[in-house]
């Protein structure tokens, strides 16, 4: 009996080893949002161009992306060209200009092109707060039923698009 007890540390270690092995390949950066499976929260935001007030009902039908960006955010520079590519492929992207200034944002879109079907200003970051955004860029996938299906923290690029595509 005592002999078997002595093997216990070894066995516990083996189990741990197996668990670790299966964890290795996983993407640990991925943090799901509490909003997954929920509709987009209520909002009232002003558009960047034309300064109209838009509400939740004005969101497009069918699936689309919500992309939080800002002219102050270096990673958004990196991300922008890929958003342009996606827009050319016909992906609908709603841009939320997050904690930013109107003039700078307009200049940005004039210089770099506009991949967004609609750009809304979230100057105070209230909508970002409701969406649980921790920083820019962040991208949410909203499916055809109007529910949030996926959240990506960080830059949207060809690699992360492979994952995101499946949720659209």
């Amino acid at each position: 009996m005592k002999r078997i007890v002595l093997f216990l540390p070894f066995l516990v270690f083996l189990v741990l080893g197996v668990v670790f092995y299966f964890l290795l390949g996983k993407d640990t950066q991925y943090m799901p949002s509490a909003l997954i499976g929920q509709p987009v929260p209520q909002f009232q935001l002003v558009t960047l161009k034309g300064e109209q007030i838009k509400q939740t009902d004005d969101l497009p039908k069918g699936s689309y992306l919500i992309n939080f960006w800002g002219t102050w955010c270096p990673s958004c520079h990196v991300e922008h060209p890929y958003l342009m590519t996606l827009a050319e492929q016909g992906v609908t992207i709603i841009g939320i200009d997050y904690k930013d200034q109107q003039a700078a944002a307009r200049q940005w879109l004039r210089d770099k092109g506009n991949p967004y079907t609609l750009v809304l200003m979230d100057e105070l970051g209230q909508f970002g707060l409701d969406m649980g955004v921790t920083g820019a860029p962040e991208t949410f996938v909203v499916n055809a039923e109007g529910k949030i299906a996926y959240r990506l923290q960080g830059v949207l690029n060809a690699q992360s698009w492979q994952v995101i595509k499946a949720y659209l």
Partner: protein, 650 residues
């Protein structure tokens, strides 16, 4: 153009080092089983050569950093022309590859230390210990060479300036923190090697404990210093004034510390009384395994944390394989061999053995608590139940009470005698000390209106202090019916214990005070404005823009007054590192014995105003002061005269 060969020479010496490590791992082992003195004696020269080669590789990498050789990929990722020289040197271990090389270097230095002290060990034991260390070295050298060589070149397109060192790491605390922490981590490999050799030779008598003790104490002291430094660094560099976050990487260094503390105590019992033999061996394996696990968790990207610098699955698989071979192998060896050990000595429930056993049980429970808290999210994920994180609330709720409990007994342990203690002889001083500490704590709590939990914890801290002093007084003046003025020389290992225990109590006072007596506010301040926090008046004088070597900085000038007197000038900064486009907050500290003034800049607001975060941290220095005392205790124990005798020539 010879300088351009240096990285290749570095790579080559690492390859050679691997060969010598493998030879070290096998030849003395074969020598032991074949009873060949010749093969056993190869251990020392093999170690010397391996150490030289690793040192050469390390120096060549450092040279590549100092001379800005950006053709080396690792250098170009972690350094920059504008980086100050001291950071260029510390950038050697700023990334994954280099810190692994540092790991190997420190392991090599420990091997060298053992090789130099070989004369104090029996003729078969020493070479075998080196051989086991050779196993560990081979594993890590192979890991270094096959998955993460720091000498990989990017030719022919050599970048001209480099990607710069992570700004978080551009700090004196980070120059020192990793090497010292690794000294601790890796140092436990020596205790591990002794334990494995004891298992291999089947010679599990009390001697191995005696040999392993100073090494364990030295490793423990380094680890304590490393953790203390890390906590201090996080406090002033991360900019939100915390000193411990229960972050997975912190836990990774804390677990070996807890297990190592248990090992330190259990080795005493094994050496002095010959009990807990098999448990001590297991604990030695366990401690080093936790060090390896720490390396694995930090380096494989299995856990996310503020510290996770490198994440690469192939490396993860390699470290896991290494863990399986080293830890699995030694645990299997343990399972096969430990059954032969029989402890014959009995001990009473009031003897020191029993107190130390209690110490071991509580420390093991604490280790498992932290281990569970750290791994729980992983297990949860592995079972497909999604991702969760176990944060500070869990650790504080579970860890706190057990640790306090441990400290209550910590005060009694030294008082007790081996085998059996007569209760009647010591209940009066104990009761006295208990009442005194509770009274003192009650006075403070009443005066400052804290809650009963604070009272409890403060009582425990005072209890440890008073009991430690009382015990010292007893042993110094009362023992052997001497007169009061006669000075006995107590052994330095006794003082080691007194100082370390006292340090623990001082840290506890710091921890308690900082959590109940601190003030914290976030305000909007403009130049010329002022604010009062916790009895101090903070005056925001002005802002200026300054240019550092590799950053631009907004620097604030603040004066702090207490009752009309100027107590501190604070200069918090917001640095923008140009190469990495990263913003760093440099907090300003007004350090003091009983309180720290802590000021950091938040967001820049409109019309020149700034968000300013002000903390008054009560007794926060005591946390690290206690840590330093523990280090001193550990060093004293490691260099005790008793362990320095050489083997008598037969």
């Amino acid at each position: 153009m010879t300088r351009f060969m240096f990285p290749e020479i570095g790579q080559f010496s690492l390859i050679l080092a691997l060969f010598f490590a493998v030879a070290l791992a096998t030849l003395p082992m074969v020598g032991y089983f074949r009873q060949s003195r010749l093969l056993l004696n190869t251990a020392r020269p093999l170690t010397h050569i391996m150490v030289c080669l690793v040192v050469i590789a390390f120096l060549l990498l450092a040279w590549a950093f100092i001379t800005d050789d950006f053709s080396v990929l690792y250098v170009s990722q972690n350094s920059n022309v504008d980086l100050p020289l001291r950071y260029k040197f510390s950038a050697v271990w700023g990334g994954h590859e280099g810190s692994l090389l540092l790991w190997v270097l420190i392991l090599a230095l420990w091997c060298l230390a053992v090789a130099l002290r070989l004369d104090s060990l029996p003729q078969t034991i020493g070479p075998l210990v080196l051989s086991v260390l050779g196993w560990v070295a081979s594993g890590f050298l192979a890991f270094l060479l096959f998955t993460s060589s720091p000498f990989v070149r990017i030719l022919p397109d050599v970048p001209t300036s480099g990607g710069d060192l992570n700004p978080l790491l551009q700090d004196i605390g980070l120059i020192l923190h990793p090497p010292i922490l690794y000294m601790g981590y890796v140092g436990f490999s020596v205790a591990f090697a002794f334990a494995v050799v004891a298992l291999i030779t089947g010679n599990l008598n009390a001697y191995w404990a005696r040999w392993a003790r100073p090494w364990t104490a030295a490793a423990w002291a380094s680890l304590t210093l490393g953790i203390t430094l890390g906590s201090w660094w996080a406090y002033y560099e991360l900019g939100w004034g915390g000193w411990w976050f229960w972050d997975p990487v912190e836990n990774a260094s804390f677990m070996p510390w807890l297990a190592g503390t248990a090992l330190l105590h259990s080795l005493v019992v094994t050496e002095k009384r010959g009990v807990f033999k098999s448990w001590t061996v297991l604990l030695a394996i366990f401690t080093f395994s936790l060090s390896l696990l720490g390396t694995f968790l930090v380096r494989s990207g299995v856990l996310t944390s503020v510290h996770a610098f490198a994440a690469d699955p192939t490396r993860g698989v390699f470290i896991l394989a290494l863990l399986v071979v080293l830890v699995g192998g030694s645990l299997l060896l343990y399972a096969l061999r430990a059954g032969q050990v029989r402890s014959s000595v009995n001990f009473g429930f009031s003897g020191r053995e029993a107190w130390l056993l209690l110490n071991n049980i509580l420390l093991s429970v604490l280790t498992l608590t932290v281990l569970l808290g750290t791994l729980y999210p992983l297990l949860f994920d592995a079972l497909g139940m999604g991702r969760i994180s176990v944060g500070a609330p869990y650790f504080n709720a579970v860890f706190g009470p057990i640790a306090l409990c441990l400290m209550v007994f910590m005060a009694i342990g030294p008082f007790s005698k081996w085998h059996h203690t007569k209760l009647a002889s010591w209940w009066i001083p104990i009761l006295g000390a208990a009442l005194l500490s509770m009274g003192l704590a009650a006075t403070i709590v009443f005066w400052q209106t804290f809650d009963w939990l604070t009272w409890c914890s403060l009582s425990v801290a005072f209890w440890v202090m008073s009991m430690t002093l009382l015990d010292w007084f007893n042993k110094q003046f009362m023992a052997g019916k001497q007169r009061l003025n006669q000075w006995r020389t107590l052994p330095s290992r006794y003082y080691a214990m007194v100082i370390a225990h006292f340090g623990m109590a001082i840290s506890l006072v710091g921890v308690i005070m900082v959590s109940v007596n601190s003030h914290e506010t976030m305000l909007k301040m403009s130049p010329g404005g002022q604010a009062e926090v916790g009895g101090y008046v903070f005056v925001f004088d002005s802002m200026e823009l300054i240019k550092g070597p590799n950053y631009l900085s907004d620097r604030g000038h603040f004066q702090v007054y207490q009752q009309g007197h100027l107590v501190a000038d604070l200069h918090p900064e917001k640095r923008f590192f140009t190469t990495r486009q990263q913003v760093m907050t440099e907090a300003a500290l007004g350090a003091g014995f009983t309180r720290d003034l802590y000021l950091s800049l938040g967001e820049k607001l409109e019309d020149g105003a700034w968000g300013v975060r002000i903390h008054i941290k009560s007794f926060v220095r005591w946390i690290w002061l206690g840590g330093l005392l523990m280090v001193l205790g550990g060093m004293l124990a490691a260099f005790d005269k008793r362990y320095r005798q050489k083997r008598k020539k037969a």
